[in-house]
């Protein structure tokens, strides 16, 4: 087995184990969030194996390095534990969750036997910051700017909501 394949199986296994750890660990919220970090980092490693270096770096800087830290920040500040929450009154969320994952599994199984489309080798510089940046700022510049407007609106909304409570 090649080194790349070996590394892929290692990080894929890590991703799956960490994701299960996140979902199944209901006793300790912080440990659950930390499992999410491990899953994010292993996903980043898989992106590296796919030559998607920019996506890998952003995956780790943004998700593992910033977003989950903010999750942890809130969880630790409020000292949240699962047993703090009242037991769910309705079974609807659980049923919906099972239905959604069942649908996902069905889609996956339906795809599995079909032959995957032939993949041509990636062009030179594929997945690098140059190729991705050029695409982002030429072809996809309108969606890119629209996303930043959306984020700006979210920031303004957060500031307004937070300010109201202080006054």
């Amino acid at each position: 087995m090649s080194t790349a394949a070996l590394l892929f199986y290692l990080f894929a296994a890590m991703t799956i184990v960490a994701s299960l750890g996140m979902v199944l660990n209901t006793r300790n919220t912080v440990a659950s969030a930390l499992s999410l970090v491990v899953a994010m980092i292993s996903l980043g490693a898989i992106y590296v194996l796919l030559d998607a270096y920019l996506v890998a770096a952003i995956q780790i800087v943004v998700y593992a390095g910033a977003i989950v830290v903010l999750f942890l920040f809130v969880v630790m500040l409020l000292n949240l534990r699962m047993d703090v929450f009242p037991a769910a009154r309705s079974r609807l969320p659980k049923l919906l969750g099972i239905a959604a994952s069942g649908w996902g599994l069905w889609m996956f199984l339906r795809l599995l036997p079909g032959s995957l489309p032939a993949i041509s080798p990636a062009p030179e510089g594929f997945g690098g910051f140059r190729a991705l940046g050029t695409e982002l700022f030429t072809r996809y510049v309108v969606p890119f700017e629209a996303t930043s407007l959306l984020l700006l609106a979210a920031i303004v909304g957060a500031v307004i909501l937070a300010k109201r409570r202080i006054d």
């Binding site: 912080v30 930390l34 780790i60 390095g65 830290v69 630790m76």
Partner: protein, 386 residues
């Protein structure tokens, strides 16, 4: 499998930093603080009466730390508590993989780049690895089951995330100047000089520079192209290291020792090591980006190798050049280490709200302005020289 060269290059960096620089830095820290406070500083540790200016103190420290009891507080999350110092230590070490300590040399069997991992996304890797360092602080404070520790880790995570944003933005101007994220390419781009008054010609004030003006040349260093970027980046990366004046996560006068308050013995020593390991790593990154890395000012690789090749052959000339440039690199690294020590023992510490105001209200707008102005200047130069 990775070849032998990669392992040797990584080993060189790790050994130089861990075995040579790290113990000396702890000594320099003590001596520097003593000089600033008008004391003599550490000079008592001795072996058979030999004191060596206090250079034996790091050895005494490590022996003392290993001899202490390893306490895990009651009610702490044992696994996380033992894991946190290791997480704090790792990012600093693995950053060394992408730092070039010398240039690219051809000894006859193809070019050899003197960096363990010569990746295109070098600086992105540095940012990614640096962002993981936050977890050492966060997990340490939380797992200790102590209020002081938790306060320290909350402060630490807020500070590190905030400064990461400005740290990334403060370098965008530099990336635009050198058109690369690869540390080796950025260092190579600085291996040249520029005419200080060349802009007069570019802007069309004069047709040709008088001879005496065109002689004035400066090395093409990042600090000369991006002076504001240098100040912003140095400030941010020192804030990431959480040392004074940015030491609010472990502010002694408020929260005792912050996130590593419940650690004892060598586990505390690991946090200490992580903090001190980041000093040379920061020095290396800053030296590579802003001080020309391994380049020797006014003496580019061709100007060293070219004349020497006829005298002693290309292999020996390359070898000599390699040695000179390694020394040049470490001279700059040692200067940056000294500068960090000087800043740490000169400035009083910030209050927590001042740290946040400095980041979001002053440095972030400045770094955005820096990007805008750099873009304008690059566009103007490209437009005028066409």
């Amino acid at each position: 499998m990775p070849d032998l060269g990669v392992i040797l290059k990584l080993l060189f960096m790790v050994v130089v930093v861990m075995a040579a620089l790290l113990p000396v830095i702890t000594w320099v820290e003590r001596k520097q603080s003593a000089v600033m406070q008008d004391r003599i500083g550490a000079n008592r540790a001795d072996i058979l009466g030999i004191r060596l200016l206090g250079l034996l103190h790091p050895l005494a420290d490590v022996l003392k730390l290993f001899g202490k009891e390893d306490v895990v507080p009651l009610g702490a999350n044992r696994f996380m508590h033992l894991l946190a110092p290791v997480i704090a230590l790792i990012p600093g070490i693995i950053t060394l993989a992408v730092v070039p300590f010398a240039g690219v040399y051809d000894f006859g069997s193809g070019p050899v780049s003197m960096v363990a991992a010569d990746v295109d996304w070098g600086m992105l890797y540095v940012f990614a690895v640096g962002s993981i360092a936050t977890y050492g602080t966060v997990i340490a404070g939380w797992s200790s089951n102590s209020n002081w520790g938790l306060l320290g880790s909350l402060r630490g995570s807020a500070q590190m995330i905030s400064y990461e944003v400005t740290m990334g933005l403060s370098l965008v101007g530099l990336f635009m100047c050198f058109n690369s994220l690869k540390l080796q390419e950025i260092a190579q781009a600085q291996d040249t000089t520029f005419r200080v008054f060349g802009f007069l010609q570019t802007l069309g004030f004069v047709h040709a520079l008088p001879r005496w003006l065109s002689v004035v040349r400066l090395p093409m260093w990042g600090i000369l192209l991006q002076p504001l970027g240098f100040i912003l980046f140095l400030t941010c990366i020192m804030a990431e290291n959480k040392r004074a004046p940015f030491d609010v996560p472990e502010g002694e006068s408020e929260i005792i020792a912050g996130y590593h308050m419940e650690y004892s013995g060598m586990r505390f020593g690991l946090f200490y090591t992580a903090e001190f390991l980041e000093i040379p790593v920061i020095a290396m990154i800053v030296a590579t980006l802003f001080l020309g890395g391994w380049t020797i000012p006014w003496l580019s690789t061709q100007r060293i190798v070219g004349p020497l090749t006829g005298e002693i052959g290309v292999g020996a000339a390359m070898g000599l050049c390699l040695i000179l440039q390694v020394f040049s690199f470490f001279a700059k690294v040692i200067f940056m280490i000294w500068l960090q020590m000087q800043i740490r023992w000169t400035l009083p510490r910030f209050r927590y709200d001042q740290v946040m105001d400095l980041c979001w209200k002053i440095m972030l707008p400045l770094s955005l302005a820096n990007i805008f102005v750099t873009g304008l200047v690059i566009l103007a130069i490209q437009g005028l020289s066409r």
